[in-house]
C-alpha cells in the first residue's frame, strides 16, 4: 500500500485541464433560465443522478466523471445520495412507465432552486427506444428540463462541459 501511495506522489496527478464550458449549453441555459429568478449556488453543484430507464451506458460515463482524469470535485461538482441534498437532477434514459412515478417523486423531493439536466440521446428524444409501449417519452415529457447533453452515451468531457456551463449560467 505504501509503495502504491508513494508512486502516486512521484507520478503526479492524472487530471486534465479545465475544459471550456460548452457554448451550445450556455445558450440553451440562457434561454431556459431567462425568465427564472437566478440564485447563486456558490459556484458548486450537488447532483442527484436518476436512471429513468437507460441501458446503463450513460451511467458508466457519468461514473467516469469521478475518476482521476476528470475529477469533477475540483470544480465543486459533487454527486449526492439524496435528492434532498441536490441542486441538480441528472436524468438518463427514456423515461419508462415503470420509472415515471419514482422520477416525479425524486423531483418533488428536491428543494428549490433546482435544475434538471437530461443526459444522453434517450433522455433527449428516447433515442432508439422511441415509440415503445413501455416508454413515456423523453425526460421533458415528465419534468421541465433546463439542459440537454446529447450523445450515445455522451462522453465524460461533454457531460463536464455541460455541467460547467450550468455553474456559469446559474451564478451569472
Amino acid at each position: 500500500m505504501r509503495s502504491l501511495l508513494l508512486r502516486a506522489l512521484i507520478e503526479g496527478p492524472a487530471v486534465i485541464d479545465r475544459p471550456e464550458p460548452d457554448s451550445a449549453s450556455v445558450s440553451e441555459l440562457a434561454r431556459a433560465l431567462a425568465d427564472r429568478f437566478r440564485q447563486r449556488l456558490g459556484r458548486s453543484l450537488a447532483i442527484r443522478e436518476v436512471d429513468a430507464g437507460s441501458c446503463n451506458g450513460c451511467e458508466l460515463e457519468i461514473h467516469a466523471l469521478n475518476n482521476p482524469v476528470y475529477d469533477v470535485e475540483r470544480f465543486g461538482i459533487k454527486f449526492v445520495a439524496s435528492p434532498r441534498h441536490a441542486d441538480v437532477l441528472l436524468v438518463t434514459g427514456p423515461v419508462t412507465w415503470n420509472m415515471r412515478q419514482a422520477l416525479e417523486r425524486t423531483y418533488a423531493a428536491t428543494p428549490e432552486p433546482k435544475w434538471v439536466v437530461a443526459a444522453g440521446d434517450c433522455a433527449k428524444n428516447c433515442g432508439v427506444f422511441a415509440g415503445s409501449y413501455a416508454c413515456v417519452g423523453p425526460v421533458s415529457a415528465v419534468l421541465p428540463v433546463d439542459l440537454h447533453i446529447p450523445g450515445c452515451p455522451p462522453e465524460p468531457l461533454d457531460i463536464l462541459k455541460g455541467l460547467l456551463a450550468l455553474i456559469e449560467a446559474s451564478s451569472a
Partner: protein, 504 residues
C-alpha cells in the same frame, strides 16, 4: 410438483446433427416437455432461457458435460402450456415475464404475481392478448418472527446506479430475507425489434445493457449470420475477439476497484478507475467509440484497426498488467480488506449449479462453465486460455475470479494481435431470406443468449435476448441471507448484475 420421470436432452438429440449455429432444434409433445423440465430439476441439463414465438413456447436447454445445446419447442397456440417453474425454480421469473409480455398461461406456475408489468403501462404489451392487467400494489414475500423490520430500498438508489427495488427484512443488522423487484428499466426492446430491419435491430441489441454492448452486438451478429449463412472474414473474427476482451478488461478492472471502494479502500478504486479510463480512451482511438458501441455488425466489424492501433493496444496491455498487479498485491496484503470480503455473501455451489449461474458468479462457486471454453465460437477455438475458477462462493472468490480473468484477457488479446492478418473486415451481405439463428456469447458478466427469426424480407419476426443476470439476481437474494445490511453494497457490487439487461 407434478411427478414426471426426468430425461436428458441427449436422449432426444442423440445421433442427430445440430444446426450450423451449434443448437439442436427439437419439437416435443407435452409429456416430453414435463420430462425435460423434471430433467432440469434433477440436474441433467441447465435451463438457459424461455421465449414464445409462432404459437410455440420454447426453451434453451444445455449440458456442459455433453457439450450439447438444444432449443426445445412445444406447440401452445393459445399460450397455455405446462409450467417449467413448478419443477425447476430458475424458470419462475422467466415465466412470469413471458406472461406479462405475451399473455402466456403457464399451468401450475407457483407465483401468480406479475414481474415486468407494474400495472402502469397505458396499454397491455402489444403481444399480450388478454386485457388483464396486474394490480399496482405488489405483495412481497413475508418473513415472520420477533423483532423483524423491513427496509425498502429503491428504485432510486444512493449512488449512480440503475433502478431496482430491494426489500430487506432484517433482525437488527442481520438480513433475514431479501426480495428483489425489477422491471423498472423495461423498455419493450423485443417488441421494438419486431418488424425492424437488421440495422435497426442491431442498434437496439447494442443497447440492451450498455456495459456489455460489445458482447450483445457480437451475439446479435452471430445469430443473424447463422440465419442468413453470412460468412465472416478471419480478420473480423479476431477484431471482434479483441473488442470483446477489451470490454471484459475494462469492466473487470473497474469492478475490482469498486468492490474495494465499498470496503472503503478508495485508493485502489482510483487506480482501477484510471485504468478503465485509459482502456476506454484506447478503445476510442482504435475503434472510434469509448464503449465500442455498434462496432460489431452482422458480417464482421464496422471499423478496422489501424497499424498504429496495434501498438497502442500493446502498450496499454503492458501498462495495465503492471498497474493491475500492484492493485492485486495491495488487496492480497491488506487484512482489513480481506476481513470484509472473505466469507461474505456466500453462494453455495449447489445453488449456482441449479440456476446455471453464469460468469464469475457461477465460476466462483465451483461451476466450471465459460462459453468461450465449453461452446467455443470464433475466434476462441484458435486461442489458449485457462478457465478461472474458485469454489468458496464469497465476495473474495468472485473478485479473485475476475482478477484471473483480467490476466487471461490480457493474454488473449496478445494472442489475437499476433494472429491478426490483413484482409477484409466484413463479409459480402447475402440475399435476405427467411431464417432462424441463435448464439451464445460470454460477456464479462456471463453467457448472453440471443435467438431470432427473420421473415422472407429479412426483417425480424422474432427477437429474444437473455441476459446472464436472470440467473444471477436470484443468487444475490440467497447470498445476502444472514449477512449484515452494511455488507449489501459490497455483495451487490461483487455480483454487478445488469438491471437494463434483465428488464429489457
Amino acid at each position: 410438483m407434478m411427478a414426471a420421470p426426468a430425461i436428458e436432452i441427449a436422449e432426444l438429440a442423440g445421433g442427430k446433427t445440430a444446426g450450423l449455429d451449434g443448437f439442436h432444434r427439437i419439437k416435443v409433445k407435452e409429456r416430453t416437455w414435463h420430462e425435460l423440465a423434471a430433467g432440469c430439476a434433477a440436474g441433467h441439463q441447465d435451463l438457459g432461457g424461455m421465449w414464445f414465438d409462432s404459437g410455440a413456447i420454447q426453451m434453451l436447454l444445455f449440458s456442459e458435460q455433453q457439450k450439447m445445446r438444444a432449443i426445445v419447442a412445444l406447440a401452445a397456440r393459445s399460450g397455455v402450456y405446462p409450467s417449467v417453474g413448478c419443477y425447476h425454480a430458475p424458470a419462475i421469473r422467466l415465466e412470469r415475464a413471458l406472461r406479462d409480455i405475451h399473455g402466456t398461461d403457464p399451468q401450475g406456475l407457483p407465483d401468480a404475481r406479475a414481474w415486468l408489468d407494474h400495472g402502469v403501462w397505458p396499454s397491455a404489451a402489444p403481444s399480450q392478448k388478454s386485457g388483464k392487467r396486474p394490480a399496482r400494489n405488489y405483495e412481497f414475500l413475508s418473513a415472520e418472527g420477533n423483532g423483524l423490520h423491513q427496509i425498502p430500498v429503491g428504485p432510486v438508489h444512493a449512488g449512480i446506479i440503475e433502478p431496482g427495488h430491494f426489500r430487506f427484512t432484517a433482525n437488527g443488522e442481520t438480513i433475514v430475507r431479501l426480495e428483489e423487484r425489477l422491471g423498472y428499466a423495461h423498455k419493450g426492446i423485443e417488441a421494438l425489434c419486431k418488424g425492424a430491419d437488421i440495422d435497426r435491430a442491431a442498434r437496439l441489441a447494442a443497447r440492451i445493457s450498455g456495459d456489455s454492448t460489445v458482447a450483445y452486438s457480437f451475439a446479435f451478429a452471430r445469430a443473424i449470420e447463422a440465419a442468413l449463412g453470412w460468412p465472416v472474414p478471419r480478420r473480423a473474427e479476431f477484431l471482434r475477439g479483441i473488442m470483446a476482451e477489451l470490454e471484459r478488461l475494462a469492466n473487470h478492472i473497474n469492478d475490482v476497484g469498486a468492490i474495494c471502494n465499498d470496503a472503503s479502500v478508495v485508493v485502489l478504486h482510483a487506480r482501477c478507475a484510471h485504468l478503465r479510463e485509459q482502456i476506454l480512451q484506447v478503445s476510442k482511438s482504435c475503434f472510434g467509440h469509448r464503449l465500442m458501441m455498434d462496432c460489431i455488425v452482422p458480417g464482421g466489424v464496422s471499423c478496422d484497426l489501424a497499424p498504429e492501433g496495434r501498438g497502442a493496444i500493446e502498450q496499454l496491455l503492458k501498462h495495465c498488467a503492471k498497474q493491475f498487479e500492484a492493485v492485486v498485491h495491495v488487496y492480497e496484503e491488506a487484512p482489513s480488506l480481506q476481513d470484509r470480503t472473505v466469507t461474505t455473501g456466500i453462494v453455495r455451489p449447489a445453488l449456482a449449479a441449479q440456476f446455471a449461474a453464469g460468469g464469475y458468479v457461477g465460476r466462483a462457486s465451483g461451476r466450471k462453465f465459460d462459453t468461450r471454453a465449453i461452446f467455443p465460437y470464433a475466434p476462441y477455438g484458435l486461442l489458449k486460455f485457462d478457465m478461472a475458477g474458485r469454489s468458496e462462493g464469497d465476495v473474495d472468490a468472485r473478485l479473485m475470479v475476475r482478477v484471473d480473468e483480467v490476466r487471461s484477457s490480457i493474454d488473449l488479446i496478445r494472442q489475437m494481435l499476433e494472429l491478426l492478418e490483413r484482409g477484409p473486415i466484413r463479409g459480402p451481405a447475402p440475399a435476405l431470406k427467411a431464417g432462424e439463428g441463435a448464439a451464445m456469447i460470454e460477456g464479462f458478466r456471463g453467457d448472453i443468449f440471443i435467438r431470432l427469426r427473420l421473415d422472407k424480407h429479412g426483417r425480424l419476426a422474432h427477437f429474444h435476448a437473455r441476459d446472464p443476470s436472470w440467473f444471477q439476481w436470484p443468487m444475490l437474494e440467497a447470498a445476502i441471507e444472514g449477512n449484515i445490511v452494511a455488507d449489501f453494497p459490497l455483495c451487490n457490487k461483487s455480483f454487478n448484475c445488469s438491471y437494463s439487461g434483465h428488464d429489457m
